[in-house]
């Protein structure tokens, strides 16, 4: 036992970070129904603001912290609420997910532009001298930080219980419209809770930056751990969430000690939050999150009438692509092949995002995992094409494993689960011999028949065209119709005897299969890949790029691939590469509620004033539905009595 005590102390310390971050996340989700994927990123950027004042300009610690936490963060909260969320009001859960992902990518991009992606260390604010408490040593820093977090937690609980503003916030959560009808400005209350949420995000980041160091990734991923704690509190219960945060920290620290002798298990502690999230999802009854996610709106996909296969545009693009090798130099052909393979991956993603209105945040992992599986099959002597298809097929059960428990609950949980799953596979599975192995490199030779660059280009083109046609057939067929109906009204489709979860799981698996094909092809293109070829965080970028380009049609997938791969390679400007994520993030935020992104803009100019009118109309419709549900509930209540 004594050997574990120091680990418990460390666990409580990191747990306080998780508790604080999770509290901020729950706070904003509860009051606005928006799950802020950028919660960690807001904290991360606030920490950069602190860094700028404290280190670059040499300001003393306290004023710098105050500027970051009480100056920048509230501003961020106001901007988020008044700018982004008002603009998206009523546009549906997916639009919110995409917009906050866009913000995450944007903030990360801005941090890199501003301070490079380099990792900075910051001297501790508090003394590190040790105190002996019983059998264990505790530093002043640990005591003070845990104390601050506990104080903030108690203050939050007291705020909700005992203050008028807290009561008003609870009132907004219960019935936003009525809050206005009794004379309280519900908009101001929501803005207030976003300010508070951002302040807490900033505080947690700034408090822990001396421990974690400052880079654009680490603090951003804090949201992942916070998610697990928040899910334990059913996304609404603040005290439970905070306790879960502490418990996670301790569990993580103890696991670190337990797995220390086993090199292969080193990824487990960092994946613990996801394992917890996964277990909660599997073992929660379906209704557990009803109150939390019941307000999630379904807005349909905006497609009216029957869909047609866009054979014309596919034929024109393919014809153009067929002549490319004639005009390109060899190094350009590599980029072109990469772009074409990415079209396949984006098409697989568009099946989810554009058709089913679901978000997957682990497609890069499917691609990477399939590539390494292909490498194993090839070295076992399986011929290339069967090996490629088998490798992609392996992704199907993997995808089902993530999709079944999460889709039971809601679309938000699919996004959360894929987010965590991606990180877990990267940390636990990729270093094992199942994937890259200890060497970190997987060799994927090209098939002998298609070994040359031109021949391989045509192989990739052929596979991509076949994959795109599969996507198109699904889109226009019965399954596509069901998915559009599910996106519109899951209740209605259930009343017709269709199991919506089964259709959604099937499409998710199909999408993973196609992404696997794309990943295998990209692997063979470069012939040697390593874990950084398919980092899980790329999945986030992919979603934002696809939404920015247009998630609904083939044209969007092509545009996305060209924007992401071809454009920077051909333009070859460092400035453009540097600003690329910023541009993608920003565009995704703006395009989140447009049905078909940039491609949709070109093919049909949106009527911005009509979009604003629609947002107002959706607000009214949502309220009308709430009212109707209230009436039915009230009637049912009276009938019982």
């Amino acid at each position: 036992m004594r050997a574990y005590l120091p680990f418990i102390v460390i666990g409580v310390f990191t747990g306080s970070l998780y508790a604080l971050a999770a509290a901020g996340l729950v706070l904003t989700y509860k009051t606005s129904g928006v799950f802020n994927f950028a919660h960690g990123a807001v904290g991360m950027f606030s920490a950069y603001v602190f860094f700028h004042f404290h280190v670059s300009w040499g300001w003393p610690t306290l004023p710098s912290i105050l500027i970051a936490v009480l100056g920048f963060a509230p501003l961020m909260g106001i901007l988020l609420d008044r700018g982004l969320l008002r603009w998206l009001e009523g546009a549906g859960a997916v639009a919110y997910i995409v917009a906050t992902l866009g913000l995450l990518v944007l903030l990360q991009g801005l941090a890199v532009v501003w301070k490079t992606g380099e990792r900075f260390t910051i001297a501790p604010y508090f003394p590190l001298d040790k105190h002996r408490i019983g059998d264990v040593f505790v530093t002043t820093e640990q005591l003070l930080v845990v104390g601050i977090v506990l104080a903030v937690g108690l203050a939050l609980v007291a705020f909700f219980r005992f203050t008028t503003l807290g009561l008003k916030t609870r009132a907004v959560v219960t019935n936003r419209e009525l809050t206005g009808l009794v004379g309280t400005n519900s908009g101001a209350v929501t803005t207030g809770s976003w300010i508070l949420g951002c302040v807490i995000a900033a505080l947690s980041a700034v408090l822990f930056v001396p421990t974690l160091g400052l880079d654009p990734v680490n603090l951003t991923l804090l949201v992942l751990t916070a998610v697990a704690a928040a899910t334990a509190g059913r996304l609404t219960n603040l005290p439970v969430t905070m306790v879960a945060g502490f418990a996670l920290g301790v569990a993580q620290s103890l696991t670190t000690k337990a797995v220390a002798p086993h090199l292969g298990l080193l990824g487990i502690p960092s994946s613990l939050p996801f394992i917890v999230l996964f277990l909660i999802m599997v073992f929660s009854p379906k209704r557990a999150f009803k109150t939390a996610t019941g307000g999630e709106e379904k807005t349909g996909t905006g497609v009216v009438g029957p869909e047609k296969i866009r054979l014309g545009s596919i034929a024109v693009v393919t014809a153009g692509a067929v002549f490319l090798p004639a005009v390109l130099k060899e190094f350009q052909l590599v980029t072109a092949t990469h772009t074409v393979a990415m079209v396949l991956i984006f098409a697989s993603l568009s099946l989810l995002v554009g058709l089913g209105r679901e978000i997957s945040l682990c497609h890069a992992i499917f691609a990477g995992f399939a590539a390494t599986t292909l490498s194993h099959f090839l070295s076992a002597g399986v011929p290339y094409l069967p090996a490629l298809i088998l490798a992609a097929l392996v992704m199907v059960p993997v995808a089902a494993l993530v999709a079944i428990p999460s889709l039971r609950l809601s679309g938000l949980f699919l996004a959360l689960a894929t987010f965590g799953f991606g990180k877990m596979v990267q940390d636990i599975l990729f270093p094992t011999s199942l994937a890259f192995g200890r060497s970190g490199v997987a060799a994927i030779p090209r098939p002998s028949l298609f070994h040359g660059p031109v021949a391989f280009y045509y192989l990739v083109l052929g596979m991509t065209v076949a994959g795109v046609l599969v996507v198109e057939v699904v889109r226009v067929g019965r399954l596509g119709r069901i998915l559009r109906a599910v996106a519109d009204s899951p209740t209605a489709i259930q009343s017709l005897g269709v199991n919506p979860t089964a259709s959604r799981v099937f499409v998710f698996c199909l999408s993973a299969f196609l992404a696997g094909l794309g990943g295998g092809l990209i692997g063979s293109l470069f012939q040697n890949i390593n874990p950084s070829s398919f980092e899980f965080s790329q999945s986030l970028l992919w979603v934002t790029v696809l939404v920015a380009a247009g998630a609904r049609t083939f044209g969007g997938s092509v545009t996305a691939a060209v924007l992401l791969i071809a454009a920077p390679a051909f333009i070859r400007s460092e400035t453009i590469t540097l600003w690329q994520p910023v541009a993608f993030g920003l565009t995704a935020m703006i395009m989140a509620q447009l049905p078909n992104g940039l491609v949709g803009l070109v093919s049909r100019q949106p009527d911005w004033s009509r979009l604003a009118a629609q947002a107002r109309w959706r607000q009214d419709r949502r309220r009308a539905t709430e009212r109707y549900v209230n009436v039915v509930l009230a009637q049912a209540g009276t009938a019982e009595r």
């Binding site: 809050t179 206005g180 009118a613 419709r621 009436v631 009230a634 009276t638």
Partner: protein, 233 residues
């Protein structure tokens, strides 16, 4: 006093109200009748500010209010009792009353509530959503009784309630009328609302089809055509 001058409103591109003129004079009780989908609820929601009119003017106490957000109109004394139950289901009854009486002492609001509905006294610390339908409606109606409310917009107060409770709610409506507040009432029990109303408006497809006093309307063709069948069934 509340007045509509040529108000049009709707949801998205679908118009519901088409040029409605309506007056609720100070201290008067106005019954708003019409078939399903005639636009009654839309009219009340437009008056309260939940829906922005696409044309015309909404005037409250001599001032145009149609571009004012709804929480500011509520502060002026315009009180919409929405269809369903206008309560915060997850808050206790006491917290509900605190929310209703912003600027008032909670103890005063509780006194008004218990005075009107004695049964609420023992329910003060219970989540409002766990009350029976009738008790929930009582909590909701307390809002109209608070000082500062001058115009009450009541949307189907009796929906889903037992007849005994409907009596109790109508007693309160009478008290509101006696206290000099203006009332605009949408109600399924047409006979009962006609007994208390000073004026009657009948809406048909978003337009005012009839304006007059209750005695006049009972025997008009319009009444039989748009309301009668429903009222007597």
């Amino acid at each position: 006093m509340l007045e509509f001058r040529g108000v049009s409103a709707g949801y998205g591109t679908v118009p519901v109200l088409r040029g409605v003129d309506l007056r609720v004079p100070s201290g008067a009780t106005v019954a708003l009748l019409g078939a399903n989908g005639a636009g009654k609820t839309t009219l009340l929601r437009t008056a309260a500010g939940l829906i922005r009119p696409t044309g015309g003017e909404v005037i409250f106490d001599g001032q145009r209010v149609d571009h004012e957000p709804y929480h500011l109109r509520a502060r002026r004394g315009l009180c919409l009792l929405p269809e369903g139950r206008g309560i915060f289901r997850d808050l206790t009854v006491r917290d509900n009353l605190t929310m209703f009486g912003a600027g008032l002492k909670t103890s005063d609001v509780v006194k008004i509530a218990v005075d009107a509905f004695p049964i609420l006294e023992e329910k003060l610390n219970v989540p409002a959503g766990s009350l029976s339908g009738g008790q929930q409606q009582m909590v909701s109606v307390v809002r109209a009784l608070l000082p500062g409310t001058s115009v009450v917009l009541a949307d189907e107060l009796s929906v889903g309630l037992a007849p005994v409770v409907v009596d109790e709610i109508f007693d309160v409506v009478l008290r509101l009328k006696a206290s000099g507040r203006s009332l605009l009432i949408v109600e399924q029990y047409v006979d009962r609302v006609l007994q208390v109303a000073d004026y009657v408006y009948i809406l048909h497809k978003g337009r005012v089809a009839f304006v007059g006093e209750p005695e006049q309307c009972l025997h008009t063709e319009i009444f039989d055509q748009y309301v009668g069948a429903a009222a007597h069934s």
